[in-house]
Symmetry: C2
Subunit: 341 residues, 2 copies
DNA sequence: TTGTAAGCGTTATCAG
DNA sequence: CTGATAACGCTTACAA
């Protein structure tokens, strides 16, 4: 079936293509008569407007892009869901892209989106492994140097390059460490994320600060550098088991790593909350599977998603927007127990 | 900064826009000299072609759409990841859409994709709640009546409307039920998915067949109708606890429902593998959190994703394609124990 | 090998 | 309220 164009509709309705266009895009300057005939003809022919052509002219696409780090990470899945629902409420379609924690994949998706002229971009920026200067990947550079409304979500970028909606965990981490300290823990390990992401840095930074608050000193030897994925959590778990003078507690920086780590510890016969106290970031539904209940430091992803869409909408409307920082919540659980002495 | 057009590039390179276009789209009819100057100019100006305009002319977009039922369901997250990687290997960008198990959201996304003229569509079709005739939602109808290459993934549609890549679980379910039967279980409940999805029907159908294979009769009173989401799994768990002559074993039709159900059972003090034997569909990483290990019936999502992309690529190349049906695997676990007598 | 010019399907402008 | 007509940014005959 050949695609039906607006001209076909106009011809069938006996009007000009301009009138047909006006009717179909809800322009009030139309007569009831032509409105009726055009809509009828469009329905009859099964007309679906060519968005390419439309936005070539109008430069609006009513769509936004959301780039997340990892579709398989429940944290980002929740974020994607929240964004999608909030965007839908504003009449925007969301295209979700998966960077797979890889700047190259991020860039491909962003380029595709830019050339498709989405109205705005929500970006969880991927860190550059290089680590040297305050670099930003090429496509992100392009994104920002053009005037494409962009909001960073969850993670930020060095130069405060764009407005962002992120979470701040100081208070929750403080409470979490307080809970450990109250249980007599003094050697607390940290299984962290990749250093080149702002969240990994923020989470670890808050952890160190919290230690200091409780008169404990941060021991860099108790800091494992993971990559936010399951396998590295398992590695971190094994690393912990191999430490001399094994720590009695550990904080894990995200849920996939926690899943990987807990599986290893179970296999090794480590009793969580008894032999080892565990606190993990990112409360996900699947944690309900774990016994005992896990203590968590969590974010309100629905709020983050909605906040991000709000900020982006403001930006798309042409108004400047600032940063939003949400606070995290500490929820205790039986995975914290007294330090064995 | 105003968007950079191909004319800007051409001007900077001192050639016509036609030559610039030829260079940038890899047309061999170009001189080394202009090739060099054009690519330099494009890089210099940060040119990114307008995909709208390009495909308005050329009708290829090198992109595909993937519509999944629920981003937050790890099963679909895994599928999305697999598709995305396979598509990327073929130079295709994947736009992921989330239907949220809702035909209306599915249709919005599909319409947006059709009007953006993606080269192909991978669709996990949403069931119509009506249940009456063999209907298909309007946008899916449009999708199929036009000649847009489309492959159904995971779920099918009544009229074998399009080629599909799905999983078949008969053998795995047979083994699973055999394992229960060998442990003396005779009353086995089933917490199923929404009837209007083909997978729910297939999974339950195989379950009934497997019961028959083992001389057990299917009792419709032991069939709970869930909706593939966590909350309904919890409901199903409570339903099971309230049954007279409580079944000693249960099969759960997907992982989110299993998560919801297991949480309820734990809270009720039900010992999995002792008081109640459990087998669940869809092996996900987070199941590693559960003790004892869960018996599962699982699919190879990587194979499904790759198979779907292969089928779609074949279709996009103009060749007809058939159906692919993958087999499932049963993996035993300590969540199956002897029936208490 | 290159340039000119004609569209692709739609919407915006400007007269009527 | 409507109809010509000119773009939007790009590709592709067709000439040169």
């Amino acid at each position: 079936m050949q695609p039906v164009t607006i001209r076909d509709v106009a011809r069938a309705a006996g009007v000009s293509s301009a009138t047909a266009s006006r009717v179909l895009s809800g322009n009030p300057a139309t007569s009831a008569a032509s409105r009726e005939r055009v809509t009828a003809a469009a329905a009859e022919l099964g007309f679906s407007p060519n968005a390419q052509a439309r936005s070539l002219r109008s430069t609006r696409t009513d769509s936004i892009a959301l780039l997340i780090s990892d579709v398989r990470n429940p944290y980002f899945a929740d974020l994607a869901h929240a964004v999608e629902q909030a965007a839908r409420a504003r009449g925007l379609v969301t295209f979700i892209g998966n960077a797979n924690e890889d700047p190259a994949q991020q860039d491909e998706f962003l380029d595709a989106m830019m050339s498709r002229r989405v109205d705005g971009v929500l970006l969880v920026p991927q860190g550059l492994a290089g680590g040297g200067g305050a670099q930003v990947s090429p496509a992100v550079e392009r994104l920002l140097s053009r005037d494409i409304p962009t909001v960073l979500v969850d993670r930020t970028l060095p130069a405060a390059a764009a407005p962002h909606v992120t979470a701040e965990s100081a208070a929750a981490v403080h409470d979490a460490v307080a809970s450990l300290a109250a249980n007599g823990h003094r050697r607390i390990a940290f299984i962290g994320g990749p250093e080149h992401t702002s969240t990994a840095a923020e989470r670890y930074g808050c952890f160190r600060a919290a230690l200091a608050d409780h008169g404990l000193d941060a021991d860099e030897a108790l800091h494992f550098h993971g990559d936010f994925r399951t396998a590295s959590g398992a590695e971190g778990a094994r690393w912990l088991l191999g430490l001399d003078d094994r720590p009695t507690a550990v904080v894990v920086a995200d849920s996939p790593m926690a899943i990987g780590a807990l599986a290893v510890w179970r296999e090794a016969g480590v009793r969580i909350g008894v032999d080892l106290s565990v606190i993990t970031f990112d409360d996900i539904e699947a944690f309900a599977l774990h016994d005992p209940p896990l203590a968590t430091i969590s974010h309100d992803l629905t709020a983050m998603g909605r906040g991000a869409v709000d900020a982006l909408a403001t930006l798309m409307a042409g108004d400047p927007t600032g940063h939003t920082v949400l606070t995290s919540t500490f929820t205790g659980g039986a995975s914290i127990g007294p330090a064995r002495t």
